[in-house]
């Protein structure tokens, strides 16, 4: 995919665009726990609470002692390569287009034997490997073994490149290029090697000196885009939608009001109009276009990133209307994810804690800098992660929410 100048080859417009295909998507319910962990970038296996047996594939009971209490725990993935093969034939259309494909059998130090994809460096019966879980194009977890110390990006491997959504050599639309996070994202994308970044700007009469600076780079193109204006969205997507490989929706209106702190619905309505309806308008126009291009070559539409908020999981009462708008956006984004599931376009949810910006001045830290948010988004695209919780506060809230959302609700009502 790379040329000497870093430019990717132009698409031959006479060639038919490939129709999206996905690898086998069916998984039993118990196996979906692997997917749930991989969506967060984790590799987890069942560990029997009674006898500590580690098992795979996932089962409804412990295969050793029949214990019914099985905990999903982080698995380091260290193991030994028992056998390897290269597939030259497949019954699945998706794989037929991506042959040859290397797979192997790995025995983990923790016990179970896994069928995995093999990265280029993982070869040689008896060699030490590390297994990780990634989401494939069907959005399901698959296991990939790499040689200990192997660094090269999976993007170079023809069969495995679709486990990542790297921004390298791709074209990205950032819906709000003016905001601090938008500018940090643009800087990060350029560093990653993006081919082109469209920076959406609303309210053209409001100056944006940081963006003007960034726009001096020929790879950055400011484009008018107002997610509260259906016409603007339609026009912009008509103009550039067919070239967008990655969409990063960071446009948001954020105000620090609950119900009682601000009389009238106007602020809440404005938050909803941008944070929720904005996503709806954009998804209606752009999602079908990206779906059609999800198997395009040489680069395909791969990811839709929605910057939500950790407050989408549980209302932060001090910013209650903002929380509600992000909760609405989260729900809608789940709908978008389902609608795009069969196309292979990864819908990513990013749940940052409070950003280090003026409307959060009164909040105690830790707060997330725009650079930190950008780093975590770009890292997640690289690793093909689906649900991202950047920063310590977001991680902590997630842990509390997963343990018992009711306890979190009470604590937040009490102030934290």
């Amino acid at each position: 995919m790379s040329g000497a100048s870093g430019q990717r080859p132009r698409k031959n417009p006479l060639l038919r665009t490939h129709v999206p295909l996905t690898p086998p998507a069916a998984r039993s319910r118990i196996a979906l726990r692997l997917t749930a962990a991989a969506a967060r970038g984790r590799f987890e296996l069942q560990v029997c609470r009674r006898c500590a047996h580690v098992q795979y594939p996932p089962r409804e009971a412990c295969e050793r002692c029949l214990g019914l209490e099985l905990d999903w725990k982080a698995e380091r993935g260290a193991g030994e390569l028992l056998a390897e093969t290269t597939l030259h034939h497949s019954h699945e259309e998706y794989f037929r287009l991506r042959l040859p494909c290397r797979i192997g059998l790995v025995r983990l130090e923790s016990g179970p034997t896994l069928v995995t994809f093999l990265r280029a460096g993982a070869r040689g019966v008896g060699s030490r490997v590390l297994v990780a879980a990634h989401l494939d194009r069907a959005g399901q977890a698959v296991l990939v073994a790499r040689a200990v110390g192997e660094q090269d990006s999976m993007a170079e491997d023809r069969a495995l490149r679709e486990l990542t959504c790297s921004a390298r050599q791709r074209k990205i639309l950032v819906t709000d290029g003016k905001s601090a996070t938008g500018q940090a994202l643009i800087r990060g994308l350029l560093q990653t090697g993006a081919e082109l970044v469209w920076a959406g700007t609303a309210e053209p009469w409001k100056p944006a000196p940081g963006l003007d600076e960034l726009a001096r780079d020929p790879r950055v193109t400011p484009v008018p885009l107002d997610l509260t204006d259906s016409d603007s969205v339609r026009e912009r997507v008509a103009q550039i939608g067919a070239k967008v490989d990655i969409l990063i929706n960071n446009a948001e209106l954020h105000r620090p009001y609950g119900i009682g702190a601000r009389y009238g619905v106007e602020v809440a309505r404005a938050e909803m109009d941008l944070n929720y309806f904005g996503l709806l308008r954009l998804a209606q126009e752009l999602a079908p276009v990206m779906r059609a291009r999800s198997a395009d070559a040489p680069a395909s539409a791969v990811a839709w990133v929605n910057i939500l908020s950790i407050y989408a999981l549980s209302s932060f009462p001090a910013q209650g209307t903002f929380s509600a708008s992000k909760a609405a956006a989260y729900s809608l984004s789940q709908c978008l994810r389902a609608e795009l599931q069969r196309s292979g376009v990864r819908v990513m949810h990013v749940f940052p804690g409070p950003l280090d910006e003026s409307w959060n001045e009164q909040l105690p830290g830790p707060k997330l800098s725009p650079e930190a948010l950008a780093r975590s988004v770009l890292g997640a695209l690289e690793d093909g992660i689906e649900d991202v919780y950047p920063g310590d506060l977001a991680q902590e809230w997630l842990a509390r929410w997963r343990e018992d959302p009711k306890v979190l609700e009470r604590e937040l009502a009490a102030g934290g």
Partner: protein, 267 residues
């Protein structure tokens, strides 16, 4: 006027329009989503820009018809300000768009050309002296007239240039405090009209009192017209404005179609 001659006057009006002797000039911008709204500091409530959502367009949502829902603020696009819009006019009688006396909605207009000055200085302020100089050339401002400040600002089609914002805020021309009091106390104008967003200058927060046009005009039961266009087509004197705002209950203003009737130039 006897009814007989009033009827003939109306007939003559229609005939004049039909035959072209009377020209109708549209002083309103088209309502579009791109038109910049008034922007206040972010902690204050904001007026909606114009937005339109199609309900159906001869499609499965409505096979034989096309129609839209639209939304905007009372002060979006070319609009009328009623006295109730400002704190100084809040208690006056007949101060809302639904109670403005109808006979005030047709009125003569005087157009004062400040386009050269505004081009040179975006913060240009209209003064009493400038008005007196205009009267010396075009005659006194008749009572119960609109005074329209032509700046050719409507020709700034780039929204950023139209808003003309920087770190100090908006830079657009308008009247100074003294000329507003003069126009009210000495000339009894019915309202002040501008091509910019705001009857007051962009930097009017720093005048004494702040926003003198809004403060004095509405405080004395008079009106405002903003975001006008085509003022360069009007004579200095002689045009008649028709400007009824929407009949919104307790409305502070509304977008409207401002029409100016004028004598067509002699061929």
């Amino acid at each position: 006027m006897k009814r007989h001659s009033a009827a003939r006057t109306l007939q003559a009006l229609i005939a004049g329009i039909a035959r072209g002797g009377i020209r109708i000039v549209d002083l309103s911008h088209t309502l579009t989503p791109e038109f910049p709204p008034l922007v206040l500091p972010p902690e204050l409530g904001q007026s909606w820009p114009f937005r339109v959502e199609t309900i159906s367009r001869y499609d499965e949502r409505g096979p034989a018809w096309y129609w839209n829902n639209f939304s905007c603020g009372e002060h979006t696009g070319t609009h009328f300000d009623a006295p109730i819009h400002w704190v100084s006019g809040r208690n006056l009688p007949h101060n809302a768009t639904d109670t403005v006396p109808l006979e005030r909605l047709l009125a003569p207009a005087c157009v004062i050309d400040c386009s050269r000055e505004a081009a040179a200085d975006a913060d240009f302020l209209l003064t009493v002296d400038a008005v007196r100089a205009w009267e010396a050339e075009h005659g006194p401002i008749p009572p119960r007239s609109w005074l329209l400040m032509r700046t050719d600002w409507s020709k700034r089609t780039d929204p950023a240039a139209y808003q003309n914002l920087d770190e100090q805020g908006q830079h657009t021309p308008g009247p100074d405090a003294a000329v507003v009091r003069f126009l009210i106390e000495e000339r009894d104008i019915i309202g002040f009209g501008t091509e910019t967003i705001g009857t007051d200058a962009g930097q009017a927060a720093h005048l004494q009192p702040p926003y003198p046009c809004h403060s004095y005009m509405h405080g004395s039961g008079r009106y405002g017209l903003q975001c006008l266009t085509n003022l360069d087509l009007l004579p200095a004197q002689g045009a008649v404005l028709i400007c009824p705002p929407l009949k919104i209950r307790q409305g502070s203003g509304s977008p409207l179609r401002v029409l100016a009737l004028m004598a067509a130039e002699a061929p």
